[in-house]
Structure formats: C-alpha cells, structure tokens
Symmetry: C2
Subunit: 460 residues, 2 copies
C-alpha cells in the first residue's frame, strides 16, 4: 500500500503506483490520501486513511511518501493495521541536521512500539524483478545473480539501468537511505543465504553499527559468495558530501582497505570499477596466477598494454622457448616480438591468431590471454560471430582455469558498428570471454579476482 | 619517389603510392622496381633503377620499402641522384640485435658520404595534410594545430585516426622508427618554429642522444607552445617490449617525471590520457586555480565525483555563503546540498541549471564548473543544441579564465542517441566546453593544465 499518492504522474508515491503496475505486480495495491478519498488514481480506488483499508488480505509493505513531519504518526497507524514492513521514501531527516535527527528518533520509537520494521527514510526502496516491484520505469523483469545494497538512491537507480545494459540482471536491489532501523548488516545477512544471489555488491558511505559484527559476517559470506564493496566518501570534500547526503561520517578509507584484506572483500573505487568487477566475477574463472600473455598488432600499442598491465598488478612473463619455437614455425620474426608481449604486425589474420592462442593456452605458467584482437574483424559470410567467438574460447581448455580477455576501445562508438559490437558482447559472455575497454580496467579487475582467489586459498 | 613497389595492393611501397594518390599529391611520383621496369603500377610508369629516373625535377623524398640488406646500396644511389631526404619503411635492423645494428651503421655511413638525411628505418614516415602525403587511407586532408612525433608507427597510425574522431586535426605526424639519423630533437626543433603547429605532442620510448640538449630545447619550447609527452616503457616487461620494438633502452620513468617538472612538459601515461590532454589544451583556458564546483543530480553520484576529483588533484571548496543564499532563493534545501558538491535531485531543470551556473560563474574562488548535466537533455523543438550549449557557455564570462566541463559517460553508446552525442561534441568544442567520459579524466587533465600554467607563471 502506498501512502502519499497524488494525481500527477512523476515522483513520490504515484511513481511507485506506476512502476508496480508496469511490472505486473499481482497483489492488491491501495493508494492512500485523505485529499482524494473515494476518487480513482491510475485506475485504483484511493483510501482516506490507513485504518479504513480492507482487512481481508494482510498488507506486506507500506510505502510512505509524505512530508517528514507526518511520518511518525503514519508509522503508528501502519503498525496498528498489522503492517510489518515500511519503506520510507520521505526525506528531510538527519541529513539536514539536529531537528531531523530528533524526528528519526521519534520514528524509530514508534516503529519499536508498533512492531514494524523500517527501510529508510530518505531512500528509493526495493527493486525485486521476481516479486514484480521496483523503483524505476523500464527495468528488466528477469531475475539474475547480482544483489546490490546501496546507501545512495541515485546509485541504486544508476546500477539498475547500467547493470542490465552491461549484461547482468539482479536478484534484488535495496536502497538503504538513513538506515534508522534495517541496515546494511541486515541485508548482507539476508543475501548471504538468498539462493537467487550469487554475488553481493554494495555502495557504502558509512557504517551505522557494529564494525566487528560486519567483519565477522563478511568473513562468513566471502567463503560462499564474492562480496564487492564500493566505498564512497574517501577524502575531505567527499566526507562533507557524505555528511549532507545520508547524515553520517564517512570513515577512513585505510580502515576499509584493511577490512577488505582481512575478509576477502573485493574493494573498488568507483561505479565503473564496480560494473567491471561484477562482470569479471560472473564471466571469468578465478585464475591461479597473474601471469598474462599480451597479443597485439604493433610495437607501440604492445608497450602501452604492458605498461598499463604492470602498473596495475599483472605480470607479463616470457613465453617458454618451446612456445616461441612453435610460433616461429609460422610467423616470421621481423616486426614481431615472440617473447611477451607478442606483436604480430601484418601477421595477425584469423588462422594465425587461433594457432597462437592455442599455443599460449598450453603454456603452463600463463593464466590469461589478453588480446586487442576483436573477433568481429573475422566475421564474414563464411564465419558467423558465434563461430569466431567460440573458436577463440576453445583455444583454452574449458576445464582449465585459464581466461581469455579482449580489449575493445568502444568510447565514441560509430553508428554503423554498434550492432556488431553488441553481438560480440553477447557472444563473448556466452563463451566466458571478458571484454574490457582498457588495459587498466582489465588489469585491475583481473588482479582483484586473483587476489580473491588467493584469499580463499589461504582460508581453505 | 617510391622504391620497392609491387603489383598487389596493400602494405609496403605500393601502400604509399595509393595514399599519395588518394590525398591528391600534386607532384610526380616515380615507382621503382627492376622487376616491373617499363610496366605500369597504379597508372604510373615503373622505373628499373634510381639512376634511370628523369632529371628535370629535383626529387624531394625517397621512400624505401625493400628488404633491409639492400638499403645501404639504395641510399647510395639516392644520394648520387641528388635526393636529400629518405624515409626508410624497411625494418629488420637494431630491433633484431647485433647484425641489424651493423646494418644501421652501414646505412648511416652511406647517408653521410652521400649527403642524404634518413628518417627511420623501421617507420611509417610522414603524414602532412597540407603537403598531401600520408601513411594511411582516409585520413583528414584538413590541416590542424597538433604535431605528433611518434617512436611507434602503430601509435602514429592510431593517433591519426583517433585525433580526427576526437575533434582535432594535425599539422604533421612523424613516425620516427629507429632514429639512426633524424631524431626526436630534430623534429621538436622543427615544430617549435612551425607556424602551423600550436601544440607539440610525442610518444617516446627512449632518447637516442642529448639528454641535456633535450631539456634545454624543451624549456625554450614550452614557453611558446604546450608540449605533451607520453612516455612508453615504464616497468620491467615494458622495458623489454621497448627493446624489441625500437632497439633502445627505455629509461627510468622517474627521470622523465623530474625532466617534465623542470621543463613544463605535460607528461601523460597512456594513449587515452594523451587524447584527453590535447583536447584540454585546445578547448579550455588555463585556470588560475584547481577549485572546482561540482553540480550533479543525486547524493551518491556527488560523493563519487568528489572522491574522484580529490584523488586526482582537484579541490572542491565550499561555495560562499552569499552564493548559497542566492541559490536558496529558488532551490528548496531538502535533498540538495548547497555547499559543494551541489546536488539538485528533482530540481535540475533547465532554468534552474542556468541560474545556478551563473551564480557559480561569479564565485570568486571557483575556476571550474563541472557538471554531469548533459545539455542534450534540454534540446527540443523550442531549443536547439546550439542554443542550449551556448547558454551553458555564457554562464561564465568569456574574458575570465573560468571553464565549464561536462561529464558524459558514453561507453556503450546507443544507436538512437549517437547523433545527439556527436552534435553535442561539436557544439561543446565550438563554445569552449570540454566533455570528459569520467571525473578521473577531467581531474587529471585539468590538474595538468593548471600545473602547466603554474610553471609558466614561475618562469614569467
């Protein structure tokens, strides 16, 4: 049931009516607003008060979108009606200072008195594609392996859209808001045992309680599922931005790094790294080491990739003499370096690429083949994208923990190549090939995945 | 004249015939190959030897694309014909070890004996849109302000294409190769006084001579034009990749950093940073400080931008009380932080954005307004892209040194929005607004521009 609906489309309570209907939510939805009692909004009868709602079906969730000062009273009424769970969209609490802090205390007292749990206030709520509820229009109705807990409604919303565009779906997304009752730890605990969730991800600015409980829970969780945390509010002005955003102190990033080290949490620095890390844990196998073979066209780009990979933690060891000899059998040496990075110059046609990748796939000390070759170059009437990408993937044994990575610089895509790129993305995921837009992105993500594997090994 | 042409299209000598003709090069072109003497290749009569070429017009440039072992003899013949300048495309010299090193010495001796200067060997040569010569198909024929000197043919080629796609054109691009004769310093010296060149950029792996001469020349040059250097080959494997690429040692990156500090050179880490830095010096004014005002939609994204800007050297100081009061006149405080970063939530419509940017433009301590607002959102039947971008640009006084920056995440562009984005790019450049794809890119580039300004001030 939604409290605080209005007649216009758009933000606030009416927005949730719209999205629930758009998703095909199957249960009854009761809009409440005394101003419109008895009228219809979006085809639904509006109730004048919470106490007047029908009693035949228990109400699962109350969504509250009224000015902050009225919310303690609303929570009391919801509790008396037997509602067990309320999401407070309303804002204007501790993020505004002392007075708002007092209002939060009143809210919490009312919640405890009336046996109702609160999500928020100052939050977007929940997106659950299986349950057919959500906070934005046009989100995917397909459930997927990723849970996201966000201390920012803006980031919850961004991630919902970007995740889907990046090839993964969500089990649930929770926007936490000011966490006066249900908090990060509650949801972490929930997702730990949620069978739909394979990867737990978070945007966190600050902890509301229990540093040591959090560490303990993380240690238990990372044994079973990867946990990826993006910590927001790292430096001076960042801190001040956090204070005004969710009314808390940001906490030192050094502490978070040490916590990640202790618990196996994968820490990322920003939204882009979060997206890339999620794709990485979903698509790649945990590598046994950081040793990477680089395949590229020219000497300058080879030097650049090597610089970037090394700067962010990958290793570029020499190919064995045996491997080099096998390659020398069909690639002339002039203008190609056959140790590592491997440059091919004009020799990088399809049959050569596949032959070289197979040789690299058998190099015992190499875990990752990183290539700037775009399989899309080889599609033609004779070879479909499916065939080319599959043949790339098959150059490493599927029961090994070796990975193939393609670098594709897709900033400023061209209209005529977008369809090909999209097809490549879809096929690459299908065959376990990861695409990054830079060596930096590849190196950071792979380093972190390897580091997580090292943590798991140390705890085994 | 081109030595070493063949009948097939594609690489080598014939490639240069194709591109020169494609660009409309107006002088005579003489292909040379004894195998095809008297026949026609690409509509041009093939000569059997250099000595048999016509003597009526002096030959400006000899392009040599024959196997390395024949090149000393060719250089001798070119010299005897009175050719003053040769570009050696041929490879297989010091990049392959001792024997190749000897061959280079022979080449150089022949060049000195016969009064001919050599560019290369192992290089792509020259792209000069005004002179109508170039090393790749479909390059722009428009001359522009950027010179690029590259110790990598691959990077010369990439930059030629990417520069044009990124909104700037070149005065000249030079691919240096092994620099046995003409080297980095010669071309730096040339571009320093080249009236067509406003920005000098380089990809450098190693210096062949004269560290102190280089420093002296850089100091003279940066007083007049910005010099942007991308140093390739920073770490272990990067070094080894350089050795096999152009046959030199890479040199310590710390030395390069200290050299940049002494000379006002803008040092960048990779290709993407190079492109962004060039756009930055072309589009933005040198700011008087690093103080930046961030305008964004939600609290989470505001925290992220602040974190990223601070991590890479920008400052996010508070807006003055006076400025905050002016904004408070029309933006309600709930869900918006009015110090800095500024979050607007649902209040970020066009009229409000323009009003806020004008107030920020008058804040005395702020040099840069960084917004995630995409002017494209406001285009409609009533407002064209030109009008919207112009109104954004006019929020800061055009004779101040204040800048406006827009962040636009355009990785994975959508087919239906590409035209709008392209239009925005064109208009933004026209009105001096810089677009970056991340806060990181904006912060690094702006920090470097400010740092260059600080250097100039210290030398004034």
């Amino acid at each position: 049931m939604v409290v605080g609906v209005s007649k216009g489309r758009g933000w606030g309570g009416s927005h949730y009516l719209e999205t629930f209907k758009e998703y095909g939510y199957s249960g009854p939805i009761y809009p409440v607003n005394p101003k419109y009692e008895g009228e219809e909004i979006q085809g639904l009868k509006v109730y004048g008060s919470i106490s007047s709602l029908p009693d035949d079906i228990p109400i699962d969730l109350g969504i509250v979108a009224v000015p902050a000062k009225f919310t303690p009273q609303i929570i009391e009424e919801l509790g008396q009606k037997g509602v067990l769970f309320a999401h407070l969209f309303s804002s204007g609490y501790s993020e505004l200072g002392k007075e708002g802090k007092l209002l939060e205390q009143q809210l919490l007292e009312k919640a405890i008195e009336n046996h109702i749990r609160i999500l928020g206030p100052n939050c977007m709520g929940i997106y659950n594609p299986k349950g057919r509820i959500g906070f934005s229009h046009r989100l995917s109705l397909v459930s997927g392996p990723v849970a996201f807990i966000s201390q920012s409604g803006g980031n919850a919303n961004r991630h919902a859209y970007t995740g889907i565009a990046s090839g993964y779906n969500f089990s649930k997304i929770v926007s936490l808001g000011n966490q006066i009752d249900l908090d990060l730890l509650d949801f972490l605990n929930y997702f730990r045992s949620d069978p739909d969730t394979k990867v737990i991800t978070m945007y966190v600015e600050n902890l509301k309680r229990g540093g040591s409980d959090f560490v303990k829970l993380l240690k238990e969780t990372t044994k079973e599922k990867p946990v990826i945390i993006w910590k927001g509010g790292k430096l001076n002005a960042g801190h001040s931005a956090v204070r005004s955003h969710t009314g808390g102190l940001a906490g030192n990033i050094k502490l978070w790094k040490s916590m990640a080290h202790q618990t196996g949490v994968i820490l990322v620095n920003n939204f882009k790294e979060l997206i890339e890390m999620i794709q990485t844990v979903l698509v790649l196998k945990i590598p046994k080491n950081r040793n990477t073979a680089i395949l590229t066209g020219g000497g300058g780009p080879a030097v650049e990739l090597t610089d970037e990979c090394e700067a962010y933690g990958l290793k570029i060891p020499r190919i064995t003499e045996d491997g080099q000899n096998k390659i020398r059998d069909f690639i002339p040496e002039v203008n190609s370096n056959l140790s590592n990075p491997l440059e091919f110059g004009a020799n990088g046609g399809y049959p050569n690429m596949i032959k070289v990748m197979k040789i690299l796939g058998e190099e015992p000390h190499i875990s990752t083949i990183l290539t700037t070759t775009n399989p899309g170059w080889y599609t033609s009437e004779k070879l479909t994208m499916d065939e080319v990408v599959k043949s790339f993937a098959n150059t490493v044994s599927q029961d090994s923990n070796k990975n193939i990575i393609c670098l594709l610089n897709i900033s400023r895509a061209r209209k005529d190549t977008i369809d090909l790129i999209d097809e490549f993305y879809v096929k690459a995921r299908e065959y376990g090939i990861m695409i990054y837009d830079s060596a930096r992105a590849a190196a950071i993500s792979l380093f972190r995945l390897w580091n997580y594997g090292k943590y798991l090994e140390s705890r085994a």
